[in-house]
């Protein structure tokens, strides 16, 4: 028997698969939150809901770590990184899409290739450079090496390619220079792709672990992903407070995603990247 598209059986099958996948995606999140609410003796329980929920783990996490401070650090780092990537991506893409110059094609290919270079390859040179520039243990050291990203450039190239060329030409006829066209004509019409790039860059900077781990020594200058590590010791992991801190670390991201998820998904669908 063939199942027709659009038939009830087909729809039930599709929805069933979707629900299963959603549960699979949501489960770790739920487990993190559930564990953060369990008292110490119950941490290894396999029950879906905590039997006697408590905020004890949150108190422990907040006592052990300067949570507000490192959350603020992380926020500043992620916001600055996202803004820098959006700005650098926009400028690079603008030149590559709207200007005809020798080597434009090569530059674009090199940028695309640099996206494929794994972080581990550039980590040591970047570290050495950052140290020499005195950026150890500083916000600048966290942001500057990530201020330009190939992904951001490629996403913006895609957005600008579908921007009507005639509008840019009309602005040139009206006497506007390149920078003015970018700021006054293009950017106001590019809100959706810029917003989604901002969100993506923010999330990925927020989740950054390796680079801060290399660069940051003092807890006061640290970011939240490093803070989590505090609860993982050689004598074993302190699961309750760890999950509480992890929940606090993910809440801002979840909130951001809930507000802007439509833009992010739209932009993915349209750009076809990733």
């Amino acid at each position: 028997m063939t199942v027709e598209r659009g038939s009830p059986a087909f729809r039930i099958a599709v929805h069933g698969a979707m629900i299963l996948l959603s549960l699979l995606a949501i489960f770790p999140l739920w487990w993190m939150i559930a564990t953060s609410l369990r008292p110490e003796g119950e941490v290894f329980s396999t029950a879906l809901f905590p039997a006697s929920p408590t905020l004890e783990n949150y108190r422990a996490a907040l006592e052990a770590l300067p949570m507000p401070r490192i959350l603020w650090n992380t926020f500043a780092m992620a916001a600055l990184t996202a803004a820098a990537q959006a700005a650098s991506g926009l400028l690079a893409a603008y030149a590559l899409v709207f200007w005809r110059f020798r080597g434009a094609r090569t530059a674009q290919v090199l940028i695309a290739l640099s996206w494929l270079v794994p972080f581990q390859v550039v980590m040591i040179p970047n570290y050495v450079l950052a140290t020499r520039l005195g950026m150890l243990d500083s916000l600048a050291g966290l942001v500057i090496p990530n201020a330009a990203a190939a992904f951001a450039v490629l996403l913006m190239i895609n957005a600008l390619r579908s921007f009507p060329k005639e509008i840019v030409e009309a602005a040139r006829m009206d006497g506007a220079g390149s920078l003015r066209i970018l700021v006054e004509v293009i950017v106001p019409n590019l809100r959706a792709p810029l917003a989604s790039l901002g969100v993506l860059a923010f999330i990925s900077a927020w989740n950054e672990y390796f680079w801060p781990l290399l660069l940051i020594r003092r807890m006061e200058a640290s970011v939240v992903q490093i803070g989590l590590q505090f609860f993982m010791t050689q004598e074993g992991n302190d699961w309750g407070p760890l999950m509480a801190a992890a929940t606090m670390a993910s809440l801002p991201i979840l909130a951001l995603y809930l507000v802007l998820h439509r833009q992010v998904i739209d932009s993915f669908m349209r750009s076809g990247i990733r």
Partner: protein, 374 residues
């Protein structure tokens, strides 16, 4: 107002030339229409004048100033684009006034000039709207306003009417002509629509394959097309052609030996290949002609006139135009090109080949006696 001089202008994009060796001078205040099929280089030529495309070889002068390297905003040209190219995030007033804002014109003066232009184009009630809230015709008018507000030396139009429906197109055509009369600025209008070209142009420039094929008043181009291409491109329904060869006496004979245009002679070597053309308005149905019989196939009633499409067994097709009320052939008919209306083009290069002055009665007789005696 400004005159434009173009000399030896060529352009390629790394392949074959898109515009090659174009010479054109446009008098101040002229309305010039560049007509040609798509891909003929007309838009590229316009964009080079605008400065949107770097000029290749050659010279462009506006008011005697060479334009090489002058950015688009400083040439004194304003352009109206095919798809309007309005700034989507700005109001109508913002769109019209943007060039003035860029030029640093103080706000009060800017607003006054925007209002003045809006009044000319009847856009005043729409000034606060966004482009997406406007109809096609209104957007077109905003695009015109954006060009006018700068008081440019030259207006450039890149197929500005092709996105409009037929009725609006006619209306905008008249409106653009009226504006041109009122402002008197030199205008260059690019189109592939020959009706638009004929009706709007003071001077018509026909382009093909990157080259200018003919320049002249529209009526002149229509009456005396300089080449086979121009003859076939200008005119609706298009000119009808009969391939022919010159015989010993200089008559043009079509396949099968019949003479489509009896009475006309050419001073060309025997065997020279020609194409004889005639406008559907001018072709005569002639029962005495020995040529192929054309069977009426379709008749289009245009109201004021009737277009009769007919085919011969050999595949040749003709279109006859008859005024409403005139008798239209219903049975197969033969045709003749009246000698006064024949257009002939050499097959090898498409160049126009004028027949010798129409022979008088006695001359014809003389020739006929001479040919029968030989």
């Amino acid at each position: 107002m400004a005159g434009i001089r173009i000399e030896g202008l060529s352009k390629d994009f790394g392949g074959p030339a898109v515009v090659s060796d174009v010479d054109l001078s446009i008098a101040s205040g002229d309305f010039v229409v560049i007509l040609g099929p798509s891909g003929c280089g007309k838009s590229t030529l316009l964009r080079m004048i605008a400065g949107l495309e770097e000029q290749g070889a050659g010279k462009i002068e506006i008011d005697g100033e060479p334009m090489e390297g002058v950015p688009p905003g400083r040439r004194g040209c304003a352009m109206v684009f095919q798809n309007y190219a309005l700034y989507p995030h700005m109001s109508v007033a913002g769109n019209i006034g943007y060039a003035l804002k860029v030029a640093g014109v103080p706000r009060a003066e800017r607003e006054a000039r925007v209002r003045e232009v809006a009044a000319m184009l009847e856009l005043e009630p729409l000034l606060e709207r966004r482009p997406h809230q406007l109809s096609g015709g209104q957007r077109q008018r905003v695009a015109m306003g954006r060009a006018m507000v700068r008081r440019p030396r030259v207006f450039l139009f890149d197929e500005p009417l092709s996105n409009l429906d037929a009725r609006l197109r006619l209306q905008m055509r008249l409106e653009i002509k009226r504006l041109h009369r009122a402002l008197g600025a030199t205008s260059i209008f690019v189109t592939h629509d020959q009706l638009e070209a004929m009706t709007m142009a003071d001077r018509l420039v026909v382009m093909e394959g990157g080259r200018i094929r003919q320049v002249g008043a529209p009526g002149e181009v229509w009456r005396r097309p300089a080449s086979r291409f121009v003859a076939g491109f200008v005119g609706t329904p298009p000119m009808i052609f009969f391939p022919a060869r010159i015989d010993r006496e200089g008559r043009a004979r079509a396949a099968g030996g019949w003479e489509p245009c009896p009475g006309a002679r050419w001073r060309l070597p025997e065997g020279a290949a020609l194409e004889l053309g005639v406008r559907p308005q001018d072709i005569a149905a002639d029962p005495s002609s020995p040529g192929p019989r054309f069977a009426p196939d379709l008749a289009e009633d245009m109201g004021a006139e009737l277009h009769i499409h007919a085919r011969a067994p050999g595949g040749e097709a003709v279109t006859l135009i008859r005024r409403a009320g005139e008798a239209a052939p219903s049975a197969p008919f033969a045709v003749r090109i009246p000698a006064a209306h024949v257009h002939a083009f050499r097959a090898e290069d498409g160049a126009r080949a004028e027949p010798e002055p129409v022979a008088t009665e006695s001359e014809t007789q003389w020739r006929e006696t001479r040919s029968s005696s030989t």
